[in-house]
Amino acid sequence: MTIEPRNDAFVAFEHVQKSYDGVTLVVKDLNLSIGKGEFLTMLGPSGSGKTTCLMMLAGFETATHGEIKLDGVNINQVPPHKRGIGMVFQNYALFPHMTVGENLAFPLEVRGMGKSEREAKIKRALDMVQMGAFANRRPAQLSGGQQQRIALARALVFDPKLVLMDEPLGALDKQLREHMQFEIKHLHENLGITVVYVTHDQGEALTMSDRVAVFNDGRIQQLAPPADLYERPDNSFVAQFIGENNKLPGTIEELDGDKALVRLGTGELIDATAVNVKQKGDKTLVSIRPERVEFKPEMMPPGAHTIEAEVVEMIYMGDILRAVLKVAGSDDFVMKMRNTLGQTKLSPGQKIKVGWHPQDARALDP
């Protein structure tokens, strides 16, 4: 699932392949173009090739095959220090023997910038991350969140056009991480820079990105804006990887355009939208988000197929109620209900019928 590289793309991977050992490919034929000012996230489990792609873009790894272009110029042979790309590392990589100010001065000094200009830029960058008062501290004297801000300021201080971030929030606690997500997003919007962001945290990817490239097994599985990714996954991997997901294995009974009727292993018939099934008789895995499952007949479209379900467990989670159901032989089918005033209370052992809008059930590859 790749899109053809556009000629006006700011960053372009063209048929990029990477192998470390000459036997297996870590990145398999990557084609990706990133527009100017875009916030693109590479999301995937560890070992999926996303970090390798970022390292190739930064210049720390060389592509085994293919071209990487920055602003229309092939940068395969350009050493990292001449690429002018800002980078934020997972462990921040702030130089421990320098103060915060010296850390920020470093990229400006190696560019031969004068002292007064340097100081103005450092001040601006520190103010940008609200760390103006910390220029004389050492990195070790700062908290994780503060170090993160400094790392961000250092990657931005020399006004790079492109900033790469390699799981920059991985070491922070949940609350701080969510806060920093918004700050990075705002910086991106205010500065108009292009950001390539690598993470394995899907929440982070959905919150911050313009587009998300989901990596698995050295390939981009889907490249789409967050809402599309969540609501219209292209294949079972993406459906499974992003958010919570119910999967029901079955066979295509009828196929009419994108409307499919699927017979489950236990014999029930359900409605689904055909995504990547070709013909009648194909094996498929139907994917339904837990919050799109309905058990009240009035909420389902007329004529929708329903199936029998038995409540196994109710979990109270505050804002939502989570019901674990026994459906079509499996007992880990999840349904989420908003905890509203008039919400029907279900209890374990209760028999109900569940159904859904056909477009919410996606018949994917098995």
Binding site: G59, H81, N91, A93, F106, V110, R111
Partner: protein, 417 residues
């Protein structure tokens, strides 16, 4: 709230918290102390006591004071006498003591003690003691008739100095001072061997430290960055010298570097040098430097490695991404972070080199000897006090170095592995 205003914290039953804590921990502390006690005693008996004893020997010698009581008493009664012209009473006391030495067989001891500051006095004492019983007054003339050297002012100064059990004499000798007829003075240039050897030892040690650093730095970096399987192999190669006897390693260098050795034979057979132009790389300073560098190299590699291993590669990557060339990255980001390792390795190698004995003794020849060889020389010549004085000066120099290091870099930043 101010500390003083805070009420004293107590336990639930009213005892002061601090006392309760001490009581609770005292058992654990006692056990911990008992566990280290054997080692403590061992170190005390076999290390600290001998060192203290040696240090005392460097400033204390009773070889003359104990065997010449009459003269000691006379010196005590006449502190302002003129060494150039001692009176009859002094000679009388000396003759009395010499006769006593002959009886008690302490002539050698007394003579040796004076000999330290006034060379050639052992035979003088032996001769004097043999004749002392037969001498008659006036003793001055009688003794001078036995040997005119008895009238030398330097000798009398030496005896005056030796009459005190505690003396700075050995430190003066170790600083190239010499007892002349007019008192202590700097020796002739060609006699000033101690300070010269001190200087040479420190210079050679510094040179070896620098060579070790230059050789060890790339190796340690390689060790720290190679994949585990390869770095383990390299580490074995680094540690191999540790598991080999020092004697074997030194002998191996002799085999390699001597005039009929492997290196010279190779160079002759290749035609780079003539058969009569063989390089002398052994039994001189070159041999000492080569062999000591080899022996001390692991002491530089290991502290460097332990520091480099924990420097994440992301620092170098960050520097490169910020626009630094690889040289700038090395100079401004990598090198400063290895400083604790460089400092620890250098200090270790330098201190070991300054006190190194066996390698220079085996391969140094006449020209490659260091200060510790001189200490050993004086110990074998039974001049323990002088050996102790030189050793104490060496110790003081090293402690000074250690202090300077602490002020400049900080001992707590030291990393040995």
């Amino acid at each position: 709230m101010a500390d003083a205003a805070e009420p004293l914290l107590t336990t639930a039953d009213g005892r002061p918290l601090r006392a309760a804590l001490t009581a609770a921990q005292s058992r654990a502390k006692r056990r911990a102390f008992l566990l280290v006690l054997p080692l403590l005693l061992f170190v005390l008996l076999t290390f600290l006591v001998p060192i203290i004893y040696m240090l005392m020997r460097s400033a204390e010698h009773d070889g003359f004071a104990a065997s010449a009581p009459a003269l000691v008493e006379w010196f005590g009664a006449n502190p302002g006498f003129d060494p150039a012209n001692p009176p009859e009473a002094a000679y009388a006391a000396l003759v009395q003591d010499l006769a006593r030495m002959q009886v008690e067989k302490t002539t050698g001891m007394a003579g040796t003690r004076i000999n330290y500051s006034v060379p050639g006095t052992i035979s003088l004492f032996k001769k004097g003691a043999r004749e002392a019983a037969d001498l008659t007054p006036p003793y001055k003339e009688a003794l001078l008739a036995v040997d005119a050297d008895w009238g030398k002012p330097a000798l009398w100064r030496g005896m005056l100095s030796a009459s005190d059990v505690y003396t700075p004499e050995f430190y003066l000798v170790a600083s190239d001072m010499k007892l002349t007829d007019d008192g202590w003075a700097r020796g002739q240039d060609n006699e000033r061997i101690y300070l010269y050897l001190f200087g040479k030892t420190f210079l050679i040690s510094a040179l070896i430290t620098v060579i070790c650093l230059l050789l060890a730095f790339p190796v340690a970096h390689l060790l720290a960055t190679l994949p585990m399987s390869k770095s383990a192999l390299l580490m074995i190669l680094v540690l191999l010298p540790f598991w080999t006897s020092l004697l074997v390693r030194t002998t191996a260098w002799i085999v390699l570097l001597q005039e009929q050795g492997v290196v010279n034979n190779l160079l002759v057979s290749v035609g780079l040098i003539d058969d009569d132009g063989r390089l002398s790389m052994m039994y001189n300073m070159t041999g000492t430097i080569v062999a000591m560098t080899h022996v001390l190299l692991p002491f530089m590699i290991l502290p460097l490695y332990s520091v480099m291993r924990v420097i994440p590669p992301s620092y170098a990557r960050a520097a490169r991404s910020l626009g630094a060339t690889s040289w700038t990255t090395f100079r401004r980001v990598y090198l400063p972070q290895t400083l604790p390792g460089i400092a620890a390795g250098s200090l270790l190698v330098f201190i070991l080199a300054v006190g190194y004995y066996i390698t220079p003794a085996l391969v140094g020849g006449a020209d490659g000897q260091l200060i510790s060889n001189l200490i050993s020389f004086h110990m074998t010549k039974s001049n323990w006090s002088l050996a102790a004085a030189i050793a104490a000066m060496l110790l003081a120099a090293i402690l000074l170095l250690y202090w300077v290091y602490d002020r400049l870099i900080g001992i707590d930043r030291l990393k040995f592995g």
